[in-house]
């Protein structure tokens, strides 16, 4: 018995959870774009307050967000270090042999790290409060305009949905096959790289065969219920924008306005 959580959805009943997934996707993208427009620390404070408010409303425990950050911890450190050493600048803070650390470098590093952290928290909130299925629906909707140039938006979304649906099934299947082969003396843990790779054959072949068998069964089941793809298809759960969605967008637009206003103010007063 394997319990797998797909994605990282945190089930709860919050305002953010109830938002239309399309709006959440749009807001997340806008947020990510506009944090790169921030030029000064006032703007970062505004964005941080906005994020903090969202996290509070979503009722997702902060440790779930930290988990996402931990995964990219090294990327943050790496970019920060690169920025510290490779930003040209006038005000030298520290001279280390051929390297010099400048004030500009430190500021840039801090800025980049803050942006990355906010970007991750922002997108984590999206995946934490939206089920994978909702998310694919939103992506399908976002891809709709591309249908004009023959991008099979519906089919892509359907494939993603099916793939997500089968992750736990195949995990369970893998567990079973692994045990069956272990009962025949298979050893997946010891030996060198080549031996280990070879030992996966008895695991992967049955797994692929079972995946194909399931795919065939599913295709038959879908066709026997007259699935023909996108055309003329209606939804069981229609996505509908409500007042709260526009309210959420409004709050984000306020933040964007604040960012530009603060950029202007900072420009006038020379605040970095």
């Amino acid at each position: 018995m394997l319990k797998v959580t797909i994605g990282q959805y945190y089930p709860a009943e919050s305002f953010i959870h109830r938002l239309d997934p399309r709006m959440k996707l749009l807001c997340t993208l806008l947020f990510i774009v506009f944090i790169f427009f921030i030029t000064n620390f006032l703007g970062y404070i505004a964005a941080a307050i906005y994020l903090a408010l969202i996290v509070r409303t979503s009722t997702v425990p902060p440790r779930f967000l930290l988990r996402g950050l931990r995964a990219i911890f090294f990327i943050i450190i790496f970019t920060a270090v690169l920025n510290i050493f490779f930003t040209a600048g006038e005000t030298i803070v520290l001279q280390l042999g051929g390297f010099r650390i400048t004030q500009e470098g430190l500021l840039n590093a801090g800025r980049m790290a803050l942006r990355l952290i906010m970007l991750i928290i922002g997108s984590s909130i999206l995946t934490l409060t939206t089920t994978p299925i909702q998310l694919t629906d939103a992506i399908e909707y976002a891809l709709k305009p591309l249908k004009k140039i023959r991008v099979p938006a519906h089919e892509i979304a359907m494939m993603m949905t099916i793939a997500l649906r089968f992750i736990p099934t195949l995990m369970e299947e893998m567990d079973k096959i692994m045990k069956a082969q272990m009962a025949r003396g298979a050893d997946f843990d010891t030996g060198g790289l080549i031996k280990k790779a070879r030992s996966l054959v008895p695991l992967l072949v049955p797994l692929f065969i079972s995946a194909f068998r399931r795919a065939e069964d599913l295709a038959l089941a879908m066709e026997s219920r007259c699935y023909r793809g996108d055309v003329g298809r209606t939804r069981m759960k229609k996505m509908k924008m409500a007042g709260r969605d526009y309210a959420a967008l409004g709050v984000l637009l306020l933040l964007i306005a604040a960012i530009f206003a603060l950029n202007y103010v900072a420009g006038v007063f020379g605040i970095w």
């Binding site: 319990k3 045990k179 082969q181 009962a183 003396g185 298979a186 008895p202 049955p206």
Partner: protein, 281 residues
């Protein structure tokens, strides 16, 4: 070879919100050379119990002794124990992977590190035992019929020459003929190879016909244990556990209620036919 299980407990996903107690204080002895049936409905802990027998799962607490040896004591003995206890999973044909039937069956003996001649001898013996004709040996296992695939998969375990053979629903999903063939072969193996066989099933008919002793498991505990006659006589107890006695037992009970004088403790079709004929004479 005797199996002795002492106070065995197992909990899945221990310590998390999904924790589920699957086995609770299981105590049980299975004599060497016996043919035991393990009955229980879905989720009763049958599969969990049998997976402990060759250390695919480790006990949370308690002990499993096979021939007096604690099988969880020494990791270095793992391979030897898995050779000793052969486990055939549900739908074993789903584990087939190799290019030919022969190669697939030789997977187990190869892992055991045997000599080429020994492997050959064992594979051929195992395939013959399950009734797979030599002309199929070099075919791809995926070309075979469902029943043949299953028999090849069982041969894959038999080729390890286990002293204890555990089969989890070996007849599930087969047509009546394939079912009887497989079950009869298992019975025959038990008799000719003198191995201990543990048959997990929820088909009362199959179990009644084959085994010497029945264990009934429910909610992770062994609730009934005894000879088939004793177990199947307890219709009410079985029904309370969500199981049932054999169809024959129900017919015999109804006939008795209609005033026919029949002996108790008849659970198989063959015995029932004889008893009814006698009563009608």
């Amino acid at each position: 070879m005797a199996i002795e299980i002492k106070d065995l407990c197992h909990t899945y996903s221990r310590g998390s919100a999904f924790a589920k107690k699957a086995l609770n204080q299981v105590n049980l002895t299975i004599d060497s050379g016996s043919f035991v049936g393990l009955i229980g409905h879905t989720g009763s802990g049958k599969s969990t119990l049998v997976q402990h027998l060759n250390v695919l799962l480790r006990p949370e607490s308690g002990q499993i002794l096979i021939d007096g040896e604690d099988i969880n004591a020494d990791k270095a003995r793992l391979k030897a124990i898995r050779t000793k206890v052969g486990l055939v999973f549900q739908y074993p044909e789903h584990q087939l992977f190799d290019m030919t039937v022969y190669k697939d069956v030789s997977f187990g003996p190869k892992n055991a590190g045997l000599e080429e001649d020994e492997i050959k001898e064992r594979v051929e013996a195992a395939l013959t035992l399950v009734g797979i004709a030599p002309e199929l040996w070099e075919k791809s296992p995926f070309e075979l019929s469902g029943g043949q695939k299953r028999r090849v998969a069982i041969a894959g375990v038999l080729a390890m020459r286990p002293e204890i053979l555990v089969l989890d629903e070996p007849a599930a999903g087969l047509d009546p003929r394939g079912r009887n063939e497989i079950l009869d072969q298992i019975k025959q193996m038990h008799e000719t190879l003198k191995i201990t066989v543990i048959l997990v099933s929820h088909s009362m008919e199959d179990i009644a016909r084959l085994v010497e002793r029945i264990l009934v498991i429910s909610h992770g505990e062994i609730v009934l244990s005894g000879a088939p006659a004793e177990i199947f006589a307890q219709i009410e107890a079985l029904e309370a556990l969500g199981l049932s006695s054999t169809q024959t037992a129900y017919i015999m009970r109804d006939l008795q209620a209609k005033g026919m004088s029949l002996p108790d403790n008849i659970f198989t079709v063959e015995d029932a036919v004889a008893a009814i004929l006698r009563a009608l004479k």
